[in-house]
Each structure stands twice: as structure tokens, then as C-alpha cells.
Symmetry: C2
Subunit: 244 residues, 2 copies
């Protein structure tokens, strides 16, 4: 009986689409998890659209066909909801990229694989990624209370360790190529700036845009690597092109 749990298509999270009123009947814990996930996706979409400050809890609730009470049942405050979305965004990135760091491939190929994974994940989960960007901007400035600043700092540290993944991979690849970087910190910042640039202009064309995303990612990775003085071998490129 626990399985009238709906397989929600993401498209279900649209404006005014009432949640199945007989839903959330199974294990309460499971139901809560699903609701929470739906809130996170809806919130990510809203935050992406209008930014944190300009998004009201009612906006998020309405996009779920639910009410404010529901959201405050799952999250203590608006900022808490934002933090949760941020965290989910980081989880997405880690799950996409971290496995590649354990690859036994050569440093250059490992870096390339990480970069491709990162870039594609970025385009595939745009709303969450824009929230990440907002969170970083938030951290540089004023997030009112001390408690908020604390949690935010914690979240940013997660991001820092994520960037650290690339930093070490970059240095390994450069060292392996026999060259050297004048300013490793700046280089890795620039490297990620290229990969992250899609956040500001990319929006998926249609369903199953993965081919398009891979193609873009390949170009970006190529550019970013050349900036470091590295070059992706032809066979590796062809390997990726098969996926499109």
C-alpha cells in the first residue's frame, strides 16, 4: 500500500498544479521526504527566477499548489529553506564530480573528466546552480544575524573544498605536463570561471538537451585547459563526441 507514491515528473512542479490530494499516504517519513524534495526544487526555481530577497514563501507555495503552512512545516524560516537548496546544489555537484577524482587515469584526463562532469551538471541543474551563485554573493556581503552567517560560512566551506578538488587536479595536470603556473590560485579561479559561465547565459532548449550540453561542455573544457597551457588529446575529444 505504500506505493501510490507518485513518480513525479519535474514538469509536475508547475504553477497552480495542485498536488495530488490523496498523495503522501504511504510511510509518513517517505512522504515527508518527497514533499521536502518538491519544495527544494520549487524553491530553487523561484530563487533562480527572482532571487532570494524578491521571492516570497507564498510564491514557492503557489508554484507547488500548496500553502505557506506546508513550507513552514518543513523549514523553520525562509533563509533555512535557501540554505537547504544551497546544500542540495552542492550535493549535486559532488555526486557528479567527486567520483571522477578517484579515477586512475592520467592527471590531464582526470581533470578533463572532472570538468566535463561539472560542466554538464551545471547545465542540467541550472536553478540550483544559480542559488549557489547567490549564496556566494550573499556570503561576501551582509547576511544579517550571526547565526545565519555561521551556517552560511559552513556551506561556503563545502564549496571551498569542492573548488579544492579542482585546484589539486589542475596542479597535478600542469605538473605532469612539465610546465608551471605563475599564479596557481588565479589560474584555478579562471579555470572555474569558464566552466561556470554557463550559469549566466545557458538555458536548455528542449527535452533531452544532454547532447547540446555535452557539446558546449566540451568547448568550454577545451578553452579552460588551453588557458592553463594544456591540450586535450584528440582521441579523448572523439570519445566524448560519441556521446552526442
Amino acid at each position: 500500500m505504500a506505493i501510490d507514491a507518485r513518480e513525479d515528473t519535474p514538469a509536475d512542479a508547475q504553477q497552480g498544479v495542485k498536488l495530488n490530494e490523496t498523495a503522501n499516504r504511504g510511510s509518513p517519513r517517505l512522504a515527508a521526504r518527497q514533499s521536502r524534495d518538491q519544495i527544494l526544487e520549487a524553491a530553487a526555481e523561484c530563487f533562480k527566477e527572482n532571487g532570494f530577497a524578491a521571492t516570497s514563501i507564498d510564491d514557492v507555495a503557489y508554484s507547488l499548489g500548496a500553502t505557506k503552512g506546508m513550507i513552514y512545516h518543513h523549514f523553520r524560516s525562509k533563509i533555512d529553506l535557501f540554505f537547504a537548496v544551497y546544500q542540495r546544489g552542492m550535493e549535486i555537484n559532488f555526486e557528479a564530480t567527486e567520483p571522477e577524482t578517484h579515477s586512475h587515469a592520467k592527471p590531464l584526463e582526470r581533470l578533463a573528466r572532472m570538468s566535463m562532469a561539472h560542466s554538464v551538471a551545471l547545465m542540467a541543474h541550472q536553478p540550483f546552480q544559480r542559488v549557489l551563485a547567490q549564496g556566494v554573493a550573499m556570503h561576501q556581503t551582509g547576511s544579517t544575524t550571526a547565526a545565519q552567517r555561521d551556517t552560511l560560512s559552513t556551506l561556503i566551506k563545502t564549496r571551498d573544498t569542492y573548488e579544492e578538488l579542482f585546484r589539486t587536479a589542475i596542479e597535478a595536470a600542469v605538473a605532469d605536463s612539465g610546465t608551471e603556473l605563475t599564479n596557481p590560485s588565479l589560474a584555478s579561479k579562471s579555470f572555474l570561471a569558464v566552466l561556470n559561465s554557463t550559469v549566466f547565459w545557458y538555458s536548455p532548449r528542449r527535452r533531452n538537451a544532454t547532447a547540446e550540453q555535452i557539446s558546449i561542455a566540451l568547448d568550454l573544457v577545451n578553452y579552460a585547459l588551453r588557458g592553463l597551457g594544456l591540450h586535450l588529446p584528440e582521441d579523448a575529444i572523439d570519445d566524448w563526441k560519441k556521446h552526442l
Copy 2:
């Protein structure tokens, strides 16, 4: 008598610093211009700190030691103020970069000079540049009324022509080098992404940070050019290093 007009140091635009109460006595037009400029800088700072939506007119007024009435005397609405700041930011960029486009130097050097000018201006006027970024983000999403969307579109077009400056300079430099770009649009986007990346992490150390800024800009331009498959000649690099 028109010159008790103060030479305002930027540091004067601090929280709670009352404007000289006997100021703005000279030509009313001149006084208005000064007030307007002060508002623009204060607003840029506030928008940079907390973002457009989270910044109140009272915030901006308070940072000037003035009141809401003063600001509404110079600007019709909050969004109008934002647009004015945006426009000022674009003016800054054009004044810095556009002269270099008329240079008779070789395409590569011209592109390099443009990029350096752009990058340094970006770091020297950070608050305005962050407002530019916000404006772009705003444009991608929802800016309520139709009139606002119109003016915003106009402003974005200014930005597009600015990017066009780089686009053509990039293609000229690449063509001159004998190579070719697989995807010119993506390449120029990546190129600017590198140069613009400072907006998200750079904050000036102390007074007269121009040396630091030039040094950073040089690294960024180097990276961005290599991404295109180009290389800045050593003597050009040395030329810039003299300025530091």
C-alpha cells in the same frame, strides 16, 4: 562663490556621515549634479552589498546621511535609480575600453590593451560592475512591468554592443594569427567570463591598489588569450609590468 563645493573623497560616502549642511550652495545645477553623483555611488555600494531587492531607499539615504525625500527628488523610483547606476557602470566601461579599439596596433595587441583596460576598470569600480551583473540577471528573468522591461532591454543592448567590441577584436586577432575558432560565440563568452571573474572575488586591498590590479589583470588576460590559442609577446608583457 560657487566653490565651497566639496572635493568629496569616496570615503566620504560612509554610513551616517552627514552631508555638509551648508553645501550645495553654488549653482543649483552643479549642486544637483553632485548630489546625483553621490546618490549613484552610494546606491551602487548598497546594491553591491545587499542586492537590488534587499536594498531599501532608506538604506541608500542613510548611507548618505540624507533622507528618502532627497533621493525621490532626483529619481522617480527605486528601479529608475537602479537603471541610472547601471548606465553609469556602462559609461565607465566604455570610457575605459572604447579608446583602445581605435588603436592602430596589431589586432592581438589591440585586443590585449582592450582587455587590460576592461579588467582594471572592473576592479577599480567594483560596486558598479556588480550592479551590471545584477542587471543582466534581472533581464533574464522577471522585471515586472512592461515599461521596466523596455528600459532594461535598452540598457542590455548597450551591454551587447560593448561585448560586440570584444567579439570583433577577438575574431580579428584570431584571424590574424592564422588559426580559427570552432565556436566564436562560445569563445568570446569564455574570454569575457575570465576577465569578469574578478567581480565575484576581488576586493581592493588598500589605497592605490592599481599595481595589484594591473598584476591580476595581466594574469587574467594571459589566461584568456591562451584559451583562444593566442600568446601575448614577451615585450608587451614587460611593457605592462613597468606600470607596477
